[in-house]
Structure formats: C-alpha cells, structure tokens
C-alpha cells in the first residue's frame, strides 16, 4: 500500500536466492535493498532521470544475454537476479568499472573535502581494492574552478555521472550546468555569462558522489572523520527538510540533505544549508535577568509569576518543538487566567525556483502549534493584530517564548519596545542576549535555541518529524518546557514532570491519543504523515526502541 492508500500491483522476484515482493515499476537497485543486497551506483538517483551512464549497478538477470543495469531494469514476476553477492560476473564488472573510473582520477584523497564520505573511496574498497594497471599519463582538466558563489569544481575528480547537470535541468529548471566536450575530455561547466547561482545550488554538492563539486565556504575546514554527525530537521521553514549535520568542536562544519522522498527528496536550500547555525545567538543569556540585571532563578521565576493576573499576550516562536507547544498549551490553560496566543508568522512571496522546495514562511512548526490547539485560522493576521493591540495597551502582561517569537520584519518597531516596557509583567524565555526581545522583557530566563534541543516538528504537509539536538546546550540554559514548568509550579500548578527532552517526548507520545503507537525511532526514519496515520491502541514501548540519544 502506498501512503495515499491506493493498492499497488506487486511483483515477486528472486534476488541472490532470496524471494522479494515489491511494487510493480520498482527498479532492481531499489528491489535489491529488500533482499539486503547492495547494488552500488553513482549516476542513479531515485528522484532524477535515469541516464545509466556509470555502469556501476550492473546485475545479472537470468535469461538476459548480458549484464543489465539495475537503475534502468524494472522488476518482473519470476525474475531471477544476481548481484555481486552471488555472481562472479557482476563482481568482475563492478571491479572493472571502478578501475576505469579511477584511471584518470587524481587520487588526491589527502587534500579532498570528500574524503571519508566519498563513493569512489567506499566502493573501491568494497568492490575492487586492487592496484591499478594504468601506467599512462592521466588526463588533465580544470582545477579549483568556481562555478558560482557556492560551489567549486575539480574537473579531474569528476566521473561524468551528470547528477548535478540533471538536478539543475530537472529540479530547479535553471539549467546552469552542462557537460562540455566529448569522450574522456568532457567536463562540467557553466556558460561564461551564467554562473551556478540558484536558491538550491548547494544541493549539487550533496549529489556529487565524488569530490568534484565541493562547498566554497566549507572548503578545507575539516576531515570528515573528526566530525560528529546528527540526523536532524532544518528549522528554516515549514518544509522540514531532512538533514545530516556535521559538527566539530561545537561548530557546524557541513550540512547535507538527507534522502526523504516525501519531504525534500535529497534537496536543500542554500539559505538553510549555509545558514544552518544562524539561529545560534552569538551572545548568550547565561543566567536569568530582572530589568537587565543578573538574577537568581528563584527571583526571576517569582517575578514571572506576575503573568498569572491580568490579560496576557503569549508570543510564541514558530520553531518551538511540538513538546514545547504542548507544555505551553498546558501553561496557558492552567496558569494564565486570560491569554491570547499568537505565533510569529508571516508569509513571503517565493520565486519559482524557491517554490520547488521552500515554504513561504519561516515557521518550521506552525502546524505543531495548530496540532496542540494553541492557534488556528489566519495566523499572520492574528499575529499582526496582536502586535497592534499590544501597542494600544490591550495587554497587561506579555510572555515571549523563543528568540524567533518576533518576525524579522517587526524587529525595528520602537512602538513594540515601548509597549513591552509599559506592560506590568513581561517575561522572555530566550537564548539571545542581544535580541530586541531580550532587551524589551523585564524578566528573561535563559533557554535553548533550536539546534541545542531534541523534539518533534510537524511540517506544512502535516508530516510529524523528529529533530535531534545538534550541539550541546549553552551554559546556564534550561529547556523552555522546564522553565514554563517552574513558573507554573511557583503559581501552584504542575504541568510537566520530566528530566530530559526525551522524557517530554515520550510522555507526549503516551498521552496524546492522535500519536498513540508512535516511537521516536519510527518518527525519525521518514516521518509520519498525520493525515493518514491511524493511532495504535497499545501504548508505545519506548524502551524497546533502543533510542537513547534523544
């Protein structure tokens, strides 16, 4: 069954003596995964056209006069397929392809950014691992040639798989890249008048299976094996691109899109990628403050109790996790007597190319706020109206959660600051010490930006995803759910009992009927489409998931 509920015609075949059943139309590369057989490939990509040029994915199909390429061969009932695991011919063909791919390759792994995550290295080790018989002089091609502001080319490392060319042709439609010349003189290039410069341009580096295309701004900054890797979600907009983040010494040193056919294929926008750490403030709140002066947690929390009397505006950042929204909802219901809740939400106009992937908001989890019932309807209108009302003095108190609780467009309004200072109680649960919000709030409580915490997000298409913590939390900070819990406790209410982000996630998965039966591991894989998810009756047994990293 596909996710949209339509029954698919299934086909049964044998791969490496194992019977597998897959949907009709599946190619042999994908089908082999079901038999735990790897069919290696360079040029193939599940979301691009199939050129069949690398010849790495050759497999033996019984009855076929020669080896077939897995990418272009669809499954058929009763087909008998052999990969390198059970066919000497396939093994030889793959070893041969690798030998040929490497004859003109400079073998400069020692200075190549791709080293450690390079398909030439990996496959050569797995499928050839023999010294080359090539004694001739290698071809020379362009080196260190910038193709545009983001990407740089090493022509000699290129294996002419054309993934980058096809991406720009088929996905962005911008067509900047071409493969010039013919034979072994061919080389990736742009037309001199038109550089590779589109909103998704960095994706070609992810797609490049070798070190031919690398990021200009992350060039030569680290060896990949010295990095820690986290699979997370980009908080830039509500598309919720699946990403893999490489961190070294507390710094993001590379970001790659992670394959998810239901969300971002394997694409990512440059704004999200190259600005992945843009939400980590340069200057951190390291302790609570009262009217700009450092204060103890107890004093600050006591002051925040002022929110409980009078009408309160709750301004929420749209990239808070679902768990944080759930706690905020409990806080609003149980602690505040009279509150309006709005989310910093504004839409923008996207260009045609941006619209391929990017959502017209900067609100990664607005669907999460809707899910828990904090907001609904026209979010942008509610937000702008609330700001107007605040400036008119309609609210006695203001609670701000998250650095991004004020849209960039609204940061320069002095009327906002004035209104905040006139509020009888203004509390900010924030991490950025220099932000407009931190300066405007009478009480600030140091919390954590997106990359320092784990939790769930719901994207624009209502897919529940799990974003893992990328870097360690800043000194003196507390999770915002915990801070809300402390204020509630001071007001005599118990809204959360948990020690870690993971505890909060588990208790939400256990308590929320619409999420029954889900586990962190299951959500982490490809996300869960909430529109088609049927909650399971049995409670989630999270201990069995073996997922202790959250």
């Amino acid at each position: 069954m596909s996710e949209n509920g339509q029954a698919q015609e299934m086909v049964t075949l044998t791969i490496d003596d194992q019977e597998v059943t897959v949907p009709k139309g599946t190619n042999l590369i994908e089908a082999a995964k079901q038999a735990q057989s790897e069919v290696p490939y360079y040029c193939y990509h599940p979301h691009l056209s199939v050129p069949g040029n690398c010849r790495m994915c050759q497999v033996e199909v019984e009855g076929a006069p020669k080896l077939m390429i897995g990418c272009h061969t669809q499954v058929q009932d009763g087909m008998v397929v052999r990969t390198h695991r059970s066919s000497e011919t396939v093994k030889q063909a793959q070893a041969s392809t690798l030998e040929l791919l490497l004859i003109n390759h400079p073998l400069d792994c020692t200075v190549c950014d791709q080293a450690g995550h390079c398909k030439l290295q990996d496959y050569h080790f797995e499928y050839n691992a023999k010294p080359s018989r090539f004694l001739e002089e290698k071809n020379h091609k362009v080196k260190a040639e910038p193709l545009g502001p983001t990407v740089i080319l090493d022509g000699e490392r290129c294996i002419s798989c054309t993934r980058c060319v096809r991406f720009c042709e088929e996905v962005t439609g911008t067509g900047e890249l071409g493969l010039l010349n013919r034979g072994d003189k061919n080389v990736i290039a742009v037309h001199p008048d038109k550089e590779l410069n589109n909103p998704l341009s960095g994706s070609v580096v992810d797609l490049c299976p070798v070190g031919a295309l690398t990021h200009r701004n992350w060039r030569f900054n680290t060896r990949m094996w010295f990095t820690d890797t986290t699979e997370s979600i980009c908080p830039g907009c509500s598309t919720g691109c699946n990403v893999r983040v490489y961190e070294r010494d507390g710094k993001v040193v590379n970001v790659k899109a992670r394959l998810n056919g239901e969300v971002n294929k394997e694409w990512m926008c440059d704004e999200g990628r190259y600005g992945f750490d843009r939400f980590i403030p340069e200057s951190r709140l390291t302790s609570p403050t009262l009217k700009g002066e450092e204060a103890s947690w107890d004093d600050a929390v006591a002051a925040a109790k002022g929110l409980t009397s009078g009408k309160t505006l709750v301004l929420l950042a749209p990239d808070l996790h679902l768990e944080e929204f759930a706690i905020a909802q409990a806080f609003v219901q149980q602690v505040l007597s009279d509150a309006d809740v709005v989310l910093a939400y504004r839409e923008r106009t996207l260009t045609e190319v941006e619209a391929v992937l990017i959502s017209p908001d900067y609100a990664a989890n607005f669907r999460g706020a809707e899910f828990v019932g904090l907001v609904s309807g026209d979010l942008e209108q509610q937000y702008t109206q609330a700001l107007e009302q605040l400036q008119k003095g309609a609210y006695e108190n203001v609670l701000v959660v998250g650095d991004r609780a004020l849209c960039v467009e609204d940061q320069d309004q002095s009327a906002f600051t004035l209104a905040m200072t006139q509020a009888s109680c203004s509390v900010g649960i924030l991490s950025d010490a220099r932000s407009k919000l931190a300066q405007a709030c009478a009480v600030t409580l140091p919390s954590r930006p997106f990359l320092e915490k784990s939790g769930m997000l719901i994207n624009r298409t209502k897919r529940l995803q799990y974003a893992r913590k990328v870097i360690e939390p800043g000194q003196g900070s507390e999770p915002s759910w915990k801070i809300l819990g402390r204020i509630a406790q001071a007001a005599g209410q118990s809204i959360v009992e948990a020690r870690t982000d993971r505890d909060v996630t588990l208790s939400l998965l256990g308590a929320e009927p619409r999420l029954k039966g889900l586990r962190i591991a299951k959500i982490s894989r490809e996300g869960i489409c909430l529109d088609s998810y049927t909650p399971e009756e049995s409670p989630a047994d999270e201990n069995a998931s073996g997922d202790a990293r959250a």
């Binding site: 069949g52 020669k66 080896l67 040929l100 004694l135």
Partner: protein
C-alpha cells in the same frame, strides 16, 4: 548465386540522374504510384517477404522493424533516413545521395506510406555538403512537381521531407544518438527500451533506416518481396553496396549480389592488390568489424552468414584491404584513435577504456611496449564489450581483439624489439600534434 545484380547502381553513372526529369525518364517514381494504390500493411508484408536486412550495419530485418511501429497511438509516426555514414571504410550512401537522390526520396516516400508517416527527415553528416546540396535540390524538385507535399499523386497522402545536416560526430549514426541530435541535443545514445519504434523522435514512434535500405524499397514494390528474396543467398537476400578502399587498384562503390566470393571481389572488381603486393588482410564490414587474414578470406563470400562463420561480419560492407606492407600496429593505433575521438563520453567503459587502449597501442607503436600489454588490452576489451549503453563499445573492441589475435606475432615482435633495445623508425599514419579539436 553470387553474380552481380544491379538494383541500386543501375543509373548511377548517368550524369543527369540527379535531376528529376532524367531520373523519371529512367523509371523513377513509378514504384510510389504503385505503392499508393497498395494497402500500407501489404507493403510491410512485401518488405518481410523480401527478407531485406538493414544495410546500416546491424542487419536487422527491415520488415520486422516496421511492424513494431504501433499504429493506434494517436501520435505522428516519423521516418528518418540515416545518412550519417561515418563508419570508416564506408561511402556508398554518399554515392547514392549525390548521384541518384530521387531513388532515395522515392524509397522514403514508399516507406512513409507503408508506415503512414507524414514527416520524414534525412539526417546527413555535416561534412557531406555536396551530397546535401544535390539531395536538397532533388527534394525541392519533388516538391515543385507535387511528388512531395499534399495530396501526392492525387492519393490524398501528405508527406513532408526535410534534410538535416549533422555537424561532425560518428556516434550520430547510432539511431538513438541521431534522434537526440535531431532534437537539438548532443548526440548521445539513449537507454533502450524504449526503442525508437515505440518512442523515438519527440517521443513519437519513429523508424530509422539506412539510405541503402530505403533505396531498395522501390524495387521491392515494383517486383515484389519474393523476387527480391530470390536474389542473393539464404539469410542475405538482394544485393549489397560494397565500399572498397585501401590497397587495391580500383577502389570505389560496387553493387554485388549477396554471396559474392570475397577474393574474387578483390581480384575482379577491385582490380587486385596495389603495386603487385600480397594481401595481408581485409576488414570487410567497416572498421567496427573483425579483420580477416588473407588465409581466412579463402572461401568466404560477401554475405551475412559466410562472414559471420568466418569470424567477422558484413556490417555495412566498408571493405578495407591491407597489403603486406601494412604496419598492423600503426593500423590499429589509427583506428583506436578514431574510436577514442568519437566516443560520446557518456558511459564509463567506452569513455575511459577506449582511451586507455589507445594509449597502450600508442605506447607500443612508439617503442615503449611492455610484456603483458596485449593481455591487458584483451582484458580491457572484455571490460568494454557488453557493458556499454550502445553498440559503440561492443563493436570498437572487435578490431582491437582481432588484430591482436591474428597479428600477435607482429605485436610481440614490436614489444620484444623494445626489450632488446632495437630502435625502429616509425612510419606513423597520423600526425601527432594536436589539432583544433
């Protein structure tokens, strides 16, 4: 069996045969009149009955190819004449297009009617400027006469014909590369399936046939498929144009009945070996076929089966003769340069392997051959053949393998001279300094 027959070259030496009036006075455009009164499917039956096989090199039965074209897709059917003729050793299509273009046009018209195609195109290699001009003029004449355009011969059939110049790329002779090129792209072969008969030019059903194949169609229509099948020998019906070149006294285009004895062809048609030298070997079907040594040529006939049994193939009958003064190392280096220059570069084995082999052959020729080089080339051939997108890789290795296999002694001698420190003065066939491309 094996006697010479004239189907295609009957009027080739008439100086005015390229004009419509002269061609028509000698019988041109009779077959199309007859064809238009026939059921299109009946023509396909006649083609099947003739057993004619494609003359471009692969030898696929033409009638069968036509029968693969679906007739109910609602999409137009396109007919393309492959006049890219770039196989080294071949120049027969050039002769037809230059000297008797109306024969080709008429063949295309008959085929177009059979396929119910309203648009056809002659894809002619860019270098053939003169054949282009002659054929283009012939098409214009046919339009002026109403033999092309709307309501041809009052039949209600409409057909438009275009002639399209390539721009220098051997690979465009491969039918799917040709289609890509015609669509305004680089000429790079497509993955198959789908085959052009189902999804070809602009995604529509398309038939691509060689010039010579289509030039046979008028005769088949006029005389019937069965009569054609009487000519030649079993599995190789009709006549074949042979482009003869190399060390012979009378090179040129010859039409022979299929099954004509190879050595007799050299002696009687080609006037024997030049300068009274002895025959070393023949590449019988164009450079992408296996070389036959003088010994192997004995008893072999010019037809599909006989040449196949001899370990080579008829290909497109680009018949290249080498006498015993030929330096085989230089000869195969010459061809290996051709193939690496013409590889489209799309798939790994051909792009990388082809160049590698050229480099090894060059090293051997330059006096730096090493023991194991020949075995390495043979091994590389097996890494290329059968592993590429198109037949270019499969066929490029045929001359390499056969040269090494059949002239191993000469190759070994060359390598051992190096080891013994003997210096040989090279007599290279090409000019090493890099050209414009």
């Amino acid at each position: 069996m094996g006697e010479q027959r004239q189907i295609l070259l009957t009027n080739i030496n008439e100086p005015d045969q390229n004009t419509l009036s002269a061609a028509e006075s000698r019988g041109a455009y009779k077959a199309i009149r007859k064809a238009l009164e026939m059921d299109p499917l009946k023509i396909i039956d006649e083609m099947k009955a003739s057993s004619i096989r494609g003359r471009g090199g692969a030898g696929f039965p033409t009638g069968l190819k036509w029968s693969f074209v679906p007739r109910d897709t609602g999409k137009p059917v396109y007919l393309i004449t492959n006049a890219d003729e770039s196989e080294p050793g071949t120049f027969k299509d050039r002769a037809l297009l230059e000297r008797d273009p109306h024969l080709v046009i008429e063949g295309m018209l008959c085929s177009a009617w059979a396929l119910q195609s309203n648009w056809s195109c002659i894809y002619i290699r860019g270098e053939y400027a003169y054949p282009y001009e002659r054929t283009k003029r012939a098409i214009e004449e046919a339009y002026e006469k109403g033999y092309l355009g709307e309501n041809i011969f009052g039949s209600g059939f409409t057909h438009h014909m275009v002639i399209h110049r390539g721009a220098g790329a051997y690979i465009c002779g491969e039918e799917t590369a040709l289609i890509e090129s015609l669509e305004g792209k680089k000429g790079q072969p497509r993955l198959k399936p789908p085959f052009p008969a189902v999804a070809g030019l602009y995604g529509c059903p398309t038939v691509v046939n060689n010039v010579e194949t289509l030039a046979n169609v008028p005769w088949i229509i006029e005389n019937g498929g069965a009569a054609y099948a009487e000519l030649g020998v079993e599995n190789s019906t009709g006549t074949k144009l042979v482009s003869a070149s190399g060390h012979i006294n009378k090179p040129g285009v010859y039409e022979v009945g299929m099954g004509y004895p190879l050595l007799q062809f050299i002696e009687e048609e080609c006037g024997g070996i030049k300068d009274g030298n002895n025959l070393l070997g023949v590449i019988p079907g164009g450079s992408s076929t296996c070389v036959l040594t003088a010994d192997e040529c004995k008893g072999v006939n010019l037809d599909y089966d006989s040449l196949k049994n001899a370990g080579s193939s008829l290909g497109c009958a680009g018949f290249m003769v080498m006498d015993d003064t030929t330096d085989v190392v230089e000869a195969i280096l010459n061809l290996s340069h051709f193939y690496s220059h013409e590889s489209c570069g799309q798939c790994t084995p051909c792009r990388e392997g082809g160049h590698w082999i050229e480099k090894i052959f060059r090293r051997i020729a330059e006096g730096d051959g090493r023991p194991g080089d020949l075995e390495l080339i043979e091994n590389l051939c097996s890494q290329i053949g059968g592993h590429t997108i198109c037949a270019f890789g499969d066929t490029m290795v045929l001359p390499y393998r056969s040269f090494i296999q059949k002239f191993r002694t000469q190759f070994r001698e060359r390598i051992s001279e190096v080891l013994k420190g003997i210096e040989r003065k090279r007599n290279p066939m090409d000019f090493e300094v890099g050209g414009v491309h």
